[in-house]
Amino acid sequence: MDASDRRRRAAEEAAEWWVRLQEHVSSAEREQYVDWLRESPVHVAEMLRIVQVHGALAQFERWTKLPAEASNEPEAKVVSLTPEDNSLTPPANHPKHTTYRSLLVWAVAASLVIIVGLSALFALSARGQIIETQRGERREVALSDGSVVQVDPETRLTVNYESQSRRVTLERGRALFHVAKNPERPFFVRADGTTVRAVGTAFAVEQASNSVVVTVAEGKVAVLTAHQSLRVDQPETVAPSGTASPKTLITVHAASTSAPQVTGRASRPTVAETSIGAAGEILLTANEQVTVGGSGTTEGVREVDSRRELAWADGRLIFENDSVEHAVHEFNRYNRIQLTVTDTALARRPISGVFSASDPDSFVAFLQTVAAVRVTRDAAAGITIHELESSH
């Protein structure tokens, strides 16, 4: 076995170890790994190279541009996809190359420090940080990367930060994410079968009874369904809405490229006509919202007032021709003192107004001005609202 054979073999083993080490490994396996590293400097070198490959993949931004069925395509075709890029490539003998050795040694140090840090982080939170709120409880949590999550009552989510990605799983409820920008480490929020991807933006995810609602407050985002993502190696056609697979993958990222604007309120699916980008993504900008149903279908992109939609994050409840019953339900989520409406006619009555979520008394006072009601307060049962006979 000559030197290049040994190196090839070492590269193969390093790749295998890298993939295995991404999962939970037993102490016996770690022992084997350490022994393998201590067998030869070539093993160490090849492991460091695999780390570089991983770093390059984590930095790669053109996944959606990759050619379809391209294993046998000539490379020239790929180059032609991005002709403008080549014109910007600096000449190989740029004067700054004289400093590259020093620079790269520093850079190796720096990038390895980051990897050490992030792997330590990951070790600390192998099972994830759990954030959970009860009825009547709201929280605002600063995450280690500078992102902030505003968590609504009755919500549970898990935060898992890894070296190449930031992952949050929303098990129930809703949360607003202000994502610290970091293109090298995308931010994923998963709810049910839906995944939202962001680089640096503000958006909310709500897990409703049989759907997931994504609302964008800032920046531009793109949404990709699983049906489309499965076809990474197929020609990039758009799936007609309604034929998506049972699980829908929503991918949201801050897109720097121009996104076709969606205007107007969509009452029917309008995704195909309005906002499909080059890669089959549904592009959303600020003040747009999409709902993914349990069957994976979307109702199309809606234009919304995100400040109104996300007012809950600021502790405000906004009602616009919503029923009293709905308003009471919302107040009860935010407070220990529970409201009860005994009369069905009153419960169905539409109301509009802006309220502080933590102040059910002001809502009761408001009700008293618009309807003839009698209010009883009880330490155990909370506040009960009865409609007076005479109000009919």
Binding site: E12, L21, R30, L37, P41, V42, V44, A45, M47, L48, V53, G55, A56, Q59, R62, W63, T64, L66, P67, S71, V78, T82, N86, L88, T89, P90, A92, N93, H94, K96, T98, T99, R101, S102, L103, L104, V105, W106, A107, V108, A110, S111, L112, V113, V116, G117, S119, A120, L121, L124, S144, Q164, E184, F188, R190, T195, R197, S229, V232, T251
Partner: protein, 186 residues
């Protein structure tokens, strides 16, 4: 509490080193075979000296830590040896917003390079990588979506990394050799 402090420190580190990380990953800032092998040789010696049972606890963390120490020590040594090179010190001090044209060009060059390498993979390998890096799926989910077994997903990942390692190395080495010849360095 200590964990929390550690996390904030790590976040600081990350912000501080983002720019060098990008420079490290762009084409001309990559490590030529000989330099990386030198670092590896020194790391190997340290691994041999270190207590095996401790290494087994967090092998990857120790590996990265040693490699980053070696690289940092050499960089400090290099700073005194090369007095005519203030450029890169300034570059390291620059913040994220100072991306100049050259950085952007380097970034594009890197993206081109990775794209060319990815095209040499099989469609299935590319699909698996895309689902991991772009869609953020874990292996079980990738298996679920592609209809592959988890074992096949792992296999595709291993093969992809190995292939990309050779592919990227060839390109980079050619480029670095060219730069060295151009400047008559070492």
């Amino acid at each position: 509490m200590t964990d929390r402090d550690a996390r904030f420190r790590l976040a600081d580190w990350f912000l501080k080193w983002r720019q060098p990380l990008r420079k490290f990953l762009i084409g001309k800032g990559t490590v030529p075979t000989s330099d990386l092998d030198d670092v590896a040789q020194e790391v190997f010696l340290r691994l041999m000296r270190y207590d095996r049972t401790e290494l087994i606890e967090h092998p990857q963390a120790y590996l990265y830590k040693m490699a980053s120490n070696v690289a940092a020590e050499w960089a400090i040594r290099g700073r005194y040896q090369r007095s005519r090179e203030p450029d890169w010190v300034a570059a390291l001090a620059a913040d994220d917003h100072s991306d100049n044209v050259e950085d952007q060009a380097g970034q594009i060059e890197l993206q081109d390079e990775i794209e060319r390498a990815l095209v040499t993979l099989t469609p299935q390998q590319r699909q698996v990588l895309k689902l991991q890096f772009y869609s953020g799926l874990n292996r079980a989910e990738i298996a679920d979506r592609t209809g592959l077994t988890e074992r096949s997903v792992k296999r595709a990942l291993m093969k992809s990394y190995e292939r990309l390692r050779h592919r990227l190395d060839t390109e980079r080495f050619a480029k670095v050799s060219h730069a060295r010849v151009s400047h008559g360095r070492e």
